[in-house]
């Protein structure tokens, strides 16, 4: 019987397989950041162990980094200590580190692909659940805990039990105003936040094949929000073109050998998945969340659901709690929800295409009165690229704040936070209670919806702007 993409990549990394034991897998790329690595380095130190493969390890600073005044000392002592600890550890063990201020610094999941380190058929791990992002390249990529971080540092391997596989097939043409973010939010709402549990998801079908690399990363990034171990997309010409010429892309003969291997990384015709989900891409619309988990979402044109409409008692209870926390009423139109803050950034939607999309919508318009719009590039390099295209000016002229790279308001470990009761439209991936600041309320949206929302002050899609401008052009009283 044939094998799925995930099974092929898995099999290619088995160092040791023995009856009654988990497989020992080789790890091709280990990404580190300041939050989950300190105790791992400490463990190495106590055991007198070195980092086994410095050439497969790279670190960056992202979760705690400020997005303003990055040349000044970091005010929060806890954040400062975490960053300083990473710097000390990297120096002591010889790990390549991109610190705040460095051109390659940024959110770890933006940095790996941007350097060309994330490649098809590799295993990628990081002490961070959104490592699933890298699966967009046909890599097997997943988040790990701190003791596993230490394990990989010391051995470059991990003992793991093989997850099951699930196909998520999206056929049909996505409507013009539907983005990758809308698609993944719709998928999570359909299968639920536990729907992917125990599985590696493979996104496939004609609608997926048409997506750009960055859009594919947005999809795979949020696999974890469906509870999955990882998400993958088979590599194709789009993937190869994206990698070619990047700093760590293979060259010459290696490039040819790599591409020949990458082309084998497809699920065989006769392979069987343990589960399958089919979605009609043409039926989708811009999608937003109304609740406090990423599975509580609905098309923007819909209304806040009535908890009583849920048959499942625990879902009903969850919906009631969510509406209470979010300060929403059942039946209220989603478009009527006013926001105070718009956040464009994160490893879900902080890449150049995302910034371009948001900029094209705010260009020549103004952020609504009373709304604060924060634009945070996913990496310093994405920021530079945006500046070279003049996007920073577009944002600033519209009244948005243009910031330095990092995780920022995605989780508010730095000063970028919502105040209690404040409401955001955010291009990040988690709308959990307090995620963006204690008492803050989050609606997950695409960059396009975020930008339109910033202009109108309530949840909106770019199409709503056209209505507005034609209305504005109509003289009063006519």
């Amino acid at each position: 019987m044939g094998r799925t993409l995930a099974e092929k990549v898995w099999d290619d990394h088995v160092v040791r397989r023995a009856e009654g034991e988990p497989d020992l897998l080789f790890i091709d790329l280990h990404l580190l950041h300041e939050v989950t690595s300190p105790q791992a380095f400490d463990g190495l130190r106590q055991a007198g162990r070195p980092v086994r493969r410095l050439d497969l390890t790279i670190a960056t600073e992202d979760h705690n980094t400020p997005t303003l005044d990055i040349d000044k000392p970091i005010a929060d002592p806890v954040s400062r200590v975490q960053l300083e600890t990473l710097r000390k550890n990297a120096a002591e063990f010889g790990v390549r580190l991109h610190s705040l201020g460095d051109v390659e610094q940024g959110v770890v999941h933006v940095v790996g692909p941007q350097l060309g380190l994330t490649q098809p058929g590799t295993t990628v791990v990081c002490g961070d659940s959104h490592t699933s992002t890298h699966g967009a390249f046909g890599a097997l990529a997943f988040g790990i805990g701190t003791s596993q971080v230490e394990h990989v540092l010391a051995t470059q391997t991990l003992p793991l039990a093989r997850p099951k596989t699930m196909a998520i097939t999206v056929d049909g043409e996505l409507p013009e105003d539907v983005t990758a973010k809308d698609l993944i939010l719709a998928i999570i709402t359909k299968i639920g936040t536990g729907g992917g549990q125990g599985y590696i998801l493979e996104y496939r079908g004609s609608a997926i094949e048409k997506l750009s690399m960055e859009a594919r990363m947005t999809i795979c990034n949020m696999s974890i929000e469906a509870g999955a171990r990882a998400g993958m997309i088979a590599p194709d010409e789009t993937t190869f073109a994206y990698i070619k010429g990047r700093a760590h892309a293979p060259e010459g003969e290696d490039w040819d050998a790599a591409v020949a291997y990458w082309k084998t990384l497809k699920t065989d015709e006769d392979a069987e998945f343990d589960a399958e989900v089919v979605i009609d891409g043409a039926s989708l619309a811009p999608f937003v969340t109304w609740g406090t988990n990423p599975g509580q979402g609905a098309p923007l044109s819909a209304s806040v659901p009535d908890p009583a409409s849920y048959e499942d008692a625990s879902e009903r209870f969850a919906a009631e709690k969510a509406l209470e926390y979010m300060g929403l009423e059942a039946g209220q139109a989603l478009r009527d929800i006013k926001v105070d803050t718009v956040f464009v950034g994160s490893c879900t939607n902080g890449r150049i295409e995302d910034l371009r999309a948001a900029a094209s919508i705010v260009e020549g318009r103004k952020v609504a009165d009373g709304v604060r719009m924060l634009v945070v590039p996913g990496s310093a390099r994405v920021g530079l690229q945006a500046v070279s295209e003049g996007l920073d000016l577009v944002f600033k002229e519209a009244g948005a704040e243009w910031r330095h790279a990092g995780c920022s308001m995605c989780l508010g470990m730095n000063p970028d936070q919502l105040a209690p009761g404040e409401r955001s439209a955010s291009t990040s991936n988690r709308n959990f209670e307090g995620r963006q600041g204690k008492g803050g309320r989050t609606h997950l949206v695409s960059p396009q919806v975020a930008a339109a929302t910033a202009v109108l002050g309530h949840l909106a899609s770019p199409a709503d702007l056209n209505d507005q401008s034609s209305a504005a052009r109509t003289p009063a009283g006519v």
Partner: protein, 197 residues
């Protein structure tokens, strides 16, 4: 991880049940970036009371904790184990441990021994009367011995083997060094590298 074969030391009788991980190491200690230096956080709230057993001068240097039932309930924080070890404990005896705490302790080389409550009571009485009374925890013989007390205990074979040999997960993986190097030597040259070495 240090191998554990047999250990003899003085004991601390802790006559409390349901000691949860928040009491072992309060949450504000979790911001630390190391695995050591947690000794001052161990039972932090109770240690503010000068009559607390750990504060008694005759308990200085004790290495065996004789705890009440349901020790280590609550969160999964591994810091609770680190705190006990940083303080100097080598073994904890109780009639019942919380699962995750027990798993964490055995992974880190802190031997958690389950004995019947009446034996735990006897050990506590003995060491309350005589703070110098030596308690031996013998993993090879699977026995706890103290004056007038000999009690056998169970431990799953795999965990016992790992403790006796001082093997943590990493050491076990490194026993497959030959497999790892063989894999590495066959890895194609087109695979990415973060630095040239």
């Amino acid at each position: 991880m240090e191998a554990f074969t047999t250990h003899t030391g003085r004991a601390v009788p802790l006559r409390r049940s349901n000691v949860d991980t928040d009491q072992i190491i309060p949450a504000h200690w979790l911001k630390k970036v190391t695995r050591d230096g947690f000794e001052d956080g161990l039972f932090e709230a109770w240690r503010k009371d000068s009559s607390f057993v750990l504060n008694q001068p005759e308990r200085t240097g004790a290495t065996v904790l004789i705890a009440g039932p349901d020790f280590g309930t609550g969160s999964s924080r591994e810091h609770a184990v680190w705190a006990l070890q940083n303080y100097g404990f080598k073994a904890v005896i109780s009639s019942r441990f919380a699962d995750i705490f027990r798993g964490n302790s055995l992974k880190n080389g802190l031997l958690t021994v389950v004995l019947e409550q009446k034996i735990v009571d006897a050990l506590q009485e003995l060491t309350e009367k005589d703070p110098k009374a030596p308690v031996t925890v013998d993993l090879e013989a699977r026995e706890v011995r103290a004056e007038g007390i000999t009690a056998a205990f169970e431990l799953d074979e795999n965990a016992r083997w790992r403790l006796l040999n001082g093997l943590d997960d990493i050491s076990i993986t490194l026993q497959n060094e030959a497999d790892i190097s063989a894999y590495e030597s066959k890895r194609p040259s087109h695979k990415p590298r973060t630095v040239q070495v």
